[in-house]
């Protein structure tokens, strides 16, 4: 493949077969736009959260229901998974072998699932306290905002799974690399959203 070898900062498609570099550029560009649109969804959910956080309507509120400890553990897990994904991206870029890449992706996947496990446990505790979304405006918006992030993480985990299968079949061809690059953006994006959730929802709810 001719032309500049590194147009995109994270993408080294050298020797990875038939894929135009500018096509990869376009793909990443499109994915950034998707993330902006998705960020808009979260921004609006945060806005609705802001207007309804006080509407507890006699049902349990943030003080009673939020457990900072587990939210902090979830934060650590998710941040670590971002680190492991970052390492995976670097491996993909500089390392010819797939083994390390697969190991790091698997680690990310495990961390993602662990995060989801902790989060589901939180929700289950809330449900057992009878803090269900049909009881108040606050619980409604909590169970819209936080699980939307959770669903995104679930989608991310499924995506990692699909990519692992693809690596098994195709190795790291250009499309796998490109997909991993987009997946990385997605994963880090979810991290940022989580930090906002941790600060706005959990910290503010418990301490504010």
């Amino acid at each position: 493949m001719t032309g500049p070898q590194l147009q995109h900062v994270d993408l080294d498609l050298k020797g990875s077969g038939h894929l135009e570099l500018n096509e990869a550029e376009t793909g990443v560009h499109g994915f950034w736009i998707f993330l902006m649109s998705d960020a808009m969804v979260f921004a609006l959910l945060f806005a609705v959260y802001g207007t309804q956080v006080a509407a507890t309507a006699g049902a349990p509120g943030p003080q009673a229901e939020f457990k900072l400890g587990s939210a902090f553990i979830e934060t650590l897990i998710l941040l670590t998974s971002s680190l492991t994904f970052g390492l995976a991206s670097i491996t993909m870029k500089y390392d010819r072998s797939c083994t390390k890449l697969v190991a790091l992706l698997c680690l990310t996947l495990v961390l993602g699932i662990a995060f989801l496990g902790f989060e589901l446990n939180d929700f289950a505790t809330m449900f057992s306290d009878n803090a269900t979304p049909d009881r108040s405006g606050f619980l409604s918006v909590f169970f819209a905002l936080v699980p939307t992030h959770g669903l995104h993480v679930t989608a991310g985990c499924l995506w990692i799974l699909v990519m692992l299968v693809q690596i098994a079949i195709f190795g790291t061809d250009a499309r796998v690399k490109l997909n991993l690059l987009k997946l990385g953006l997605f994963w880090h994006f979810l991290d940022i959203i989580w930090i906002a959730i941790f600060s706005v929802v959990y910290l503010q709810g418990k301490l504010g």
């Binding site: 499109g30 736009i33 998705d38 309507a57 049909d134 009881r135 409604s140 699909v162 997909n179």
Partner: protein
């Protein structure tokens, strides 16, 4: 397990009463019979379609050449066909509503209150989401890649998915005619009226899922268009050299990316309320419907510009082409478009000045709204100065453009009035408002879409549309508009609320009658468009413009044959200025063979788009009727093809250089053998798509 719960498991809320035919049988009043008739039309239409496809053996080409195609041109045409079907339904509904109101002054009329409410809800929802949006998306799809010298959009498969999601939503609205009922909450679906407490039936659910599919499809289209324009321009096509239609597309795409999420969030939260008992917009337990109103209009106002800006682009192209003149104030138009797009996010509160907020807030939003008038006015003058010292030919697209300028300015007039809060207080929710938004959307969007359709049709199909019928249609659209909507201004000033199924003020009646006549003339406008299409297809051999430039136009899409080859350009053009093709014609650079032809790689057709569309429609239908297994199946139907597709590596096919060269040389030979046509004769059969060149000394 009892029979009832088994029934619920299998068919959810569906029962015999869901069918309008059964309802009409049990309760045969004229309103139910009209409903049953409409349902029957859908069923008969579907059966007829299947029959024709089978009889003509069109199934294979339908799927293999059209539905699975990733060609932006075919996708564009399918979008417009979808818009045409939905337009027909929504316009008939409009006529029915006008008929009802003109008959129902102190009388029952022919349509019952709930049926009337469904009519205005479907009319509005369809006109915005399934007529205007697909129509403009179709035109953008067809034209923009050609205008920027690209072979396709950035993401052809995503494009197909967008189309099929929109089609799935449209299908859902059609199905609601034959199974169940539609929402009565209007196109804006304000809760708490659309909450379960007030509308427990399936109506709002149909609305929610149809809108959601369209909204997601549109977001993806916006993404696609933005990436296309940012990344796929041919060498030399700087942003400031793009045709203005590309600029308005870019702004529309940006609006789609940022303005559709609020709608998706609004409908999703409403769905959570209705399906899982959440309390976002309910009257109780901390719900707050004002959140919905804000979310909806945070989408709703930019949406106005999503549908209007592309038409502004079309007018810019049309006025320049048919004035034989460079567009006046290109930079000004670009800036104005951008300013409009930006300001459109800052004015949403003007849709509910009457909600009781402080006068400071209302003043701010009122002034921001009026500010939009400035760049809009600039655009209007830019078109006028484009005509100034030109040589105008009044073909149908140009006629629509001129009528647009005059009519739209009147809509702007009432728009500024509505932007002033105290005036809004006395005309809000009246038919004055209805008159206003039709007065901006009909000239501002519809005239532009029709103009664009007439303008680019010869490019897409290789023959001109009958100008005679086009002019008849034009007269209907203009006369019909004034008769149908000017009376509504008067009625609105007289305090007539919108969405009224019956009226009690005898003074209203003469005005309603005039509006009714106008509505029928508008319907005639649509009928004449179809007649025009039929006549033109019939006479296509004498109207062919194979060389591809029937209007002596200026941008790149006219520099290729009509219809263009699948790959658009035999060689990717290099651009050195605005109006490239026109400059090439003047300086004898057009219709030249390439020095060197190369093979071209094009995407193969894919079934993913149709499968995703089908899956989404099935999923939505299951959700509407609480048929959970069906919803799950449909959901899988969306994602399985998408994931499976990521494993497909053989996605492109190669068109060899020789094939490209043969086709190109064949077309060039044709161009050289064709007699150029002077502008005076462009509406006659002499026009074969090669324009007589303006002498360079005049053009320069």
């Amino acid at each position: 397990m009892s029979g009832d719960s088994l029934w619920y498991l299998l068919l959810g809320r569906l029962d015999a009463k869901s069918l309008p035919f059964v309802r009409a049988w049990e309760n045969p009043n004229i309103s139910e019979i009209i409903g049953a008739f409409a349902g029957a039309l859908v069923v008969i239409g579907a059966i007829a379609l299947v029959a024709v496809l089978t009889w003509k053996r069109w199934w294979r080409p339908l799927f293999l050449e059209w539905l699975t195609s990733l060609d932006h041109k075919k996708i564009g045409i399918m979008y417009i066909a979808l818009a045409g079907v939905m337009f027909t339904r929504a316009l008939i509904e409009a006529v029915l509503m006008r008929t009802q109101q003109s008959l129902a002054v102190n009388a029952p009329g022919i349509v019952g209150p709930e049926h009337f409410a469904q009519l205005f809800s479907t009319h509005g929802s369809i006109m915005i989401f399934f007529m205007a949006m697909p129509f403009l998306t179709g035109l953008i799809n067809y034209v923009v890649p050609l205008q920027i010298g690209a072979r396709d959009v950035a993401f052809p498969l995503l494009n197909s998915i967008s189309l099929m999601l929109t089609a799935g939503g449209a299908g859902l609205v059609m199905v609601s005619l034959a199974i169940g009922e539609f929402s009565t909450g209007g196109w804006s679906g304000y809760p708490p009226y659309t909450e379960t407490a007030y509308q427990p039936g399936v109506g709002p659910d149909y609305w929610i899922w149809a809108i959601t599919l369209s909204s997601i499809g549109t977001t993806l289209s916006g993404l696609n268009f933005a990436s296309t324009i940012y990344k796929k321009r041919c060498p030399g096509m700087h942003l400031m050299r793009m045709p203005l239609f590309c600029w308005t597309t870019l702004c529309t795409a940006i609006l789609m990316i940022f303005a559709m999420p609020p709608l998706t969030v609004a409908t999703a939260l409403l769905a959570l309320d209705r399906y899982l008992g959440f309390h976002f917009f309910t009257n109780d337990l901390g719900g707050n419907m004002m959140n919905y109103v804000n979310l909806f209009w945070l989408f709703g106002h930019p949406e106005v510009y999503i549908v209007i800006l592309p038409s502004f682009g079309i007018y810019s192209e049309v006025v320049s082409a048919f004035s034989s003149k460079e567009l006046y104030g290109y930079t000004s138009l670009v800036i104005a478009t951008m300013v409009i797009a930006l300001l459109s996010f800052t004015v949403w509160v003007h849709h509910f000045f009457t909600m009781g907020q402080s006068p400071d807030i209302n003043s701010y939003f009122g002034i921001a709204t009026m500010l939009i008038g400035v760049p809009t006015g600039v655009k209007v003058y830019d078109w006028i100065w484009t005509m100034f010292r030109g040589k105008l030919r009044f073909t149908p697209p140009m006629l629509f453009s001129v009528a647009f300028i005059i009519t739209f300015v009147l809509g702007g007039f009432s728009g500024i009035l509505l932007a002033i809060p105290p005036i809004d207080f006395v005309v809000h929710n009246t038919v004055f408002l209805v008159a206003h938004f039709h007065n901006v959307l009909i000239p501002g969007t519809l005239y532009g879409l029709i103009a664009g359709y007439q303008y680019w049709f010869p490019k897409a199909f290789g023959f001109r549309l009958s100008e005679g019928w086009g002019k008849i249609s034009f007269v209907c659209w203009v006369v019909g508009f004034y008769l149908a909507f000017m009376p509504l201004y008067v009625l609105g000033l007289g305090g007539m609320p919108r969405r009224s199924q019956a009226l009690f003020e005898p003074d209203y009646w003469p005005w309603l009658l005039v509006a009714e006549i106008g509505a029928f003339i508008l319907l005639a406008g649509l009928v004449t468009l179809f007649v025009q299409l039929w006549v033109s297809v019939r006479d296509r051999e004498s109207n062919r413009v194979p060389v591809g430039d029937p209007w002596d136009a200026r941008s790149l899409e006219w520099s290729v044959s009509a219809p263009p080859p699948e790959y658009n350009f035999a060689t990717i053009p290099h651009v050195s200025g605005r109006d490239t093709f026109f400059l090439r014609k003047v300086h004898d650079g057009a219709y030249k063979p390439a020095h060197h032809y190369r093979g071209i790689e094009m995407p193969k057709n894919s079934w993913v788009g149709p499968l995703v569309g089908l899956g989404s429609a099935i999923c939505a239908f299951g959700l509407v009727w609480h048929i959970w297994w069906m919803a799950g199946l449909g959901f899988a139907g969306i994602w399985v093809p998408v994931i499976a597709r990521s494993f497909v590596r053989d996605t492109h096919r190669w068109i060899p250089a020789a094939e490209v060269e043969v086709a190109d040389r064949h077309w060039l030979d044709l161009a050289h053998a064709t007699h150029p046509v002077p502008r005076e004769l462009e509406e006659s059969h002499v026009n074969r798509g090669l324009a007589e060149i303006i002498p360079a000394e005049v053009a320069a």
